[in-house]
Symmetry: C2
Subunit: 275 residues, 2 copies
Amino acid sequence: MTSTIFSIAPSSAQTAPSQNKCAVCSFKKLCLPVGLDDNAVSRLDKIIGRRRRIARDEHLYRMDQPFNSLYAVRFGHFKTAQVNLRGEQQITGFQMAGDLLGMDAIGAGRHACSAVALEDAEVCEIPFARLQELFGEMPQLLQHFHRIMSQEITREQNVMLLLGNMRAEQRFAVFLLNLSARYQARGYSPSSFQLRMSREDMGDYLSLTIESVSRLLSRFRKQGWISIDNRDLTILDRAALEALSTGAALEVAEQKAARAEEAMRGKSRMTLCAA
Amino acid sequence: MTSTIFSIAPSSAQTAPSQNKCAVCSFKKLCLPVGLDDNAVSRLDKIIGRRRRIARDEHLYRMDQPFNSLYAVRFGHFKTAQVNLRGEQQITGFQMAGDLLGMDAIGAGRHACSAVALEDAEVCEIPFARLQELFGEMPQLLQHFHRIMSQEITREQNVMLLLGNMRAEQRFAVFLLNLSARYQARGYSPSSFQLRMSREDMGDYLSLTIESVSRLLSRFRKQGWISIDNRDLTILDRAALEALSTGAALEVAEQKAARAEEAMRGKSRMTLCAA
DNA sequence: CGTTGCTTTGACACCGATCAATCCTGGTGG
DNA sequence: CCACCAGGATTGATCGGTGTCAAAGCAACG
């Protein structure tokens, strides 16, 4: 096993000193405290439970486990995955610092997917019952929580679009640009970063085989769009990736677009008829 | 254009008499009022805006329009779809009586997808600002709202699973059984119902071409699993569909499962090592 | 230095897309 | 009443992108 920074006291959760301090957390601009004043932030601070450290490849929670808390990532990366009866996994997302985990469990009271650390990581535990108490007193917090949940819905819709309507190349370009944007939002380089997940994880997210992922990386490299050394990736030609990601050069699709446009015009005519 | 029940006063929204009456709505068990007492329901009633009638093929809202209200479907069916630059659409869901529309717009303040009526339909308009006022006073309502949003997240995760990990046959079986279950929950026959959407819409949801959809319907019919006459569908062999939907008879996949299991065992060993 | 697991690369197969022709249905007009 | 038409649905033939299978390369580690 790869040695971890937790090799002395590994796996299980640990209680941290009481001061969690959203106030001084470098990711508060991306996390729950967005838009809260100092007073509000300190009230939020008070309900944040222990911090938990999760070693690489360990579960933060497992599918079907009862739901009690949301988790905000402090550092490290996670993947969330649903596993079906046959052991195939669909990775539903990758989470990094400032991202909120566990919202899909509110509805059923059990986690709908499993969260696994891709590297040694730390999260803030947010007991949901206590968060709910705060909602009554802090409408700004509630509003922001709704925004976050809603954004999770639109994020997933985008993945549906990706899985449903894009070819392998396009999916991969979208994936890389998405990572790039998220690192930029966190103050890191948007053009040079480490892929925290294995080829297999990328494949299970994009619904491609590891072989396809590998071939795509090679092709992108040969085109001079990226450089890739193991898991270290550099975007060399962002414009090319963006062109791909918006679906340039797919004349087949353009034909379909033409057809769709025609259909639209048809419907407009129909509407006029009816009015 | 097909004549509609609104042919006299078509398209645009209409103000309905003030009494919306969630209390007497046959779908309150599926909708926002779940679990509310009479008093609470009447308070919810008061903020519900006008009812809106939407004729077949008309938009309830369009992508990018500013967000003001959620909508609860009273009758009729809708589809929600994202359309990309090239006119391809990914249908993100089909909504029926009791379903809530528009939650994906809270985050950005604009609708992330378009909602179109598949047939003449009616919705309750729920001004979100007023709903938010109620949240402060009615924690049960807030809790239920969170459940609904969370369920929307898990619903979409299931679609991701469907698009990412299932073959055409399996997707289609899952789709039919899902419709069946939803009609059953609404008190309709789970085995015999009308497909409210065109073949193309089914395809754009399942990410299949109309030809594939058509072939699947034919194949399922020839196998004796369903009968299909135009849009009228009857499930004749539910067990067969369920077997398909859980992914029976995919030995290829079983191999992958075996590999995954092996990997799992590998990781357990690693964990033991570390502990 | 061998083992182990991950990655890369190549050859081939197969599912579902694409293209094309026909059928069916409902609506329209003679 | 029937002929005609348009749009949607079905069916068949073929193509192509990705999965599958297999082998080899490579890096980390004991």
